[in-house]
Amino acid sequence: MTEHPSIQEISEALVEDFSLFDNWEEKYEYLIDLGKKLPPMAADLKTEDRKIKGCQSTVWLYSEYKDGIIYFQADSEAMIVKGLVSMLVRVLSGQKPEDIVATPLDFIEKIGLQSHLAQTRANGLNAMIRQMKLDAAVRI
């Protein structure tokens, strides 16, 4: 069995993927595609207490802890946010809680999406990252 790639490795791969596009439309198209590829979240997991505050659109986040590893499921009703969620799940799901807490997440900035995401939406993104790190922190 091959080792699950690290947060750093998956992040770098995402940054590289995005670097292939030179205009915002292609970047967003790819981001929206990532959202579409996000594994579906079971409907009964979408409860009120799993909603993340700070997002203009609703985001649900669920985490499971098994054998020292955290698995995330998430969803959003808005496609761009779902794309961002999808990236976070791809990067953080299947990682050790210590690594999730310790590794800085600057890949979205590196991709160059941050500049296109206004403050309020960036806040929603930060709220998502914060919640994922919190979920990890309680499992350490």
Partner: protein, 411 residues
């Protein structure tokens, strides 16, 4: 694109708004969030800096030249506002921070003096949160009951239902003149006349209507009318509460402090006369002074002239946006201000907002501070384009092209 209105030189008007020459993400800014706030012409910006550079002083109390000049300018705005809304006296013009503060002032001062347990307050489904929450707070405190007038699916006020809700228990009717979320205009004249037959006091939320419609508070016969300067090409942080003089005379002050007093001892205080009774503390002098310039700007072009231009934008946008497959316009009625609010099948408004922003187009997406209305219309939110004097038909074409691009990206 159709031909622009004859005799209306929108390019000349655009030149007066420095922000409109900005580029966003390499594209010319298309500003369609005017219902949230309008942009400011250079003369308003100049009026602000002129005030601070030439005659900044505290008003009403000082006897030096600067204080007199500042006081004169501040009071000149009050006179201009009086004429702008056809109030009978400057005593009826109270400066606030905005529409929200005006409504809260009435809720605290008039409301706490006049509303008792079991009294009823009627609002409509179209209300902005700022015309809901102050009354809920008042109701919670006093035991009053809030009744809500329903709307039809296009957002039109259900007048027969309103008639049904009115009774001797109705003490206040507080309704929006033009809906910020949909643009729909409420029949306030009829609402006021009928409410008065039941002895109710009527407040009109004029946040959206004040810039688009001719406002004559005496003809309307409303008891209160609240609006904000920043939606009328003026500065933020200034608003107006109009109130009928007799009502205002009877109302207790809202806040205590300087300006609002006649005489103070540790035993008792006598209050200043109207309108100063409601203007405690040093007001927002600079912005109030510059507000006059904004009102003059509107009056000089002519409200009817601007409205004709905005109507043309509204009609064109409604037709063009309405043609896009999967788009549904909310509040598509005859009688409305220049707001086009719409939803696109299976597309979240937030995505529309982000992807239009990337094309330099500023619209508003979400619930527009009208969550109960959105629930009633059964949508999570809408995308709203709202137009002002400086918008063009070409900009609407850019929006329509932008929307096609958005749909292509998301489908």
């Amino acid at each position: 694109m159709v031909e622009p209105t004859v005799g209306y030189d929108v390019q000349e008007i655009r030149k007066q708004f420095p922000i409109l020459s900005r580029e966003l993400k390499g594209k010319p800014l298309v500003y369609f969030d005017n219902a949230a706030t309008s942009q400011k012409p250079q003369i308003v910006i100049d009026a602000l800096t002129h005030y601070y550079s030439h005659y900044n002083a505290n008003i009403h109390r000082g006897i030096h030249t600067l204080a007199e000049e500042a006081t004169a300018a501040y009071e000149a705005t009050r006179v201009t506002v009086q004429h702008f809304i056809h109030a009978s006296s400057t005593k009826e013009i109270i400066f606030t921070r905005g529409t929200t503060e005006g409504i809260n002032l009435v809720a605290y001062s008039w409301g706490r003096a006049n509303i008792k347990e079991g009294d009823e307050i009627i609002i409509s489904t179209l209300e902005h949160h700022s015309n809901i929450v102050p009354w809920q707070m008042l109701a919670k405190e006093t035991g009053a009951i809030i009744k809500v007038v329903p709307i039809n699916e296009q957002g039109e006020f259900n007048f027969p239902a309103f008639e049904q809700l009115l009774s001797k228990r109705t003490k206040l009717v507080s309704v929006v003149h033009a809906s910020n979320a949909l643009g729909v205009i409420n029949p306030v004249e009829e609402i006021i006349a009928l409410a008065h037959r039941f002895g109710a006091v009527v407040l009109v939320d004029g946040a959206q209507s004040s810039v688009h419609l001719d406002i004559d508070v005496q003809a309307l016969d409303c008891d209160f009318y609240a609006f904000s300067a920043h939606k009328l090409y003026g500065p933020t942080g200034v608003g107006v509460l109009y109130g009928k003089q007799q009502l205002l005379e009877e109302m207790p002050p809202f806040m205590g402090g300087g300006e609002m007093i006649k005489e103070v001892s540790f035993e008792s205080t006598t209050y200043n006369e109207l309108p100063y009774k409601f203007e405690a503390g040093t007001p927002n002098i600079a912005d109030t002074v510059a507000f006059k310039t904004a009102l003059d700007f509107i009056t000089n072009i002519g409200k009817a002239t601007i409205r004709a231009h905005e109507d043309e934008l509204l009609r064109y946008a409604t037709a063009q946006i309405g043609q896009i497959p999967g788009v549904r316009i909310m509040g598509d009625v005859q009688n409305k201000v220049s707001v086009v609010s719409f939803v696109i099948d299976n597309i979240h408004p937030q995505d529309v907002g982000i992807l239009l922003d990337n094309q330099g187009i500023a619209v508003r997406t979400g619930s527009h501070c009208t969550m109960p209305l959105m629930q009633c219309l059964n949508v999570v939110g809408t995308t709203r384009a709202s137009f002002a004097a400086y918008n063009t038909l070409t900009e609407i074409d850019l929006l329509v092209n932008g929307l096609h691009k958005v749909i292509k990206l998301l489908r």
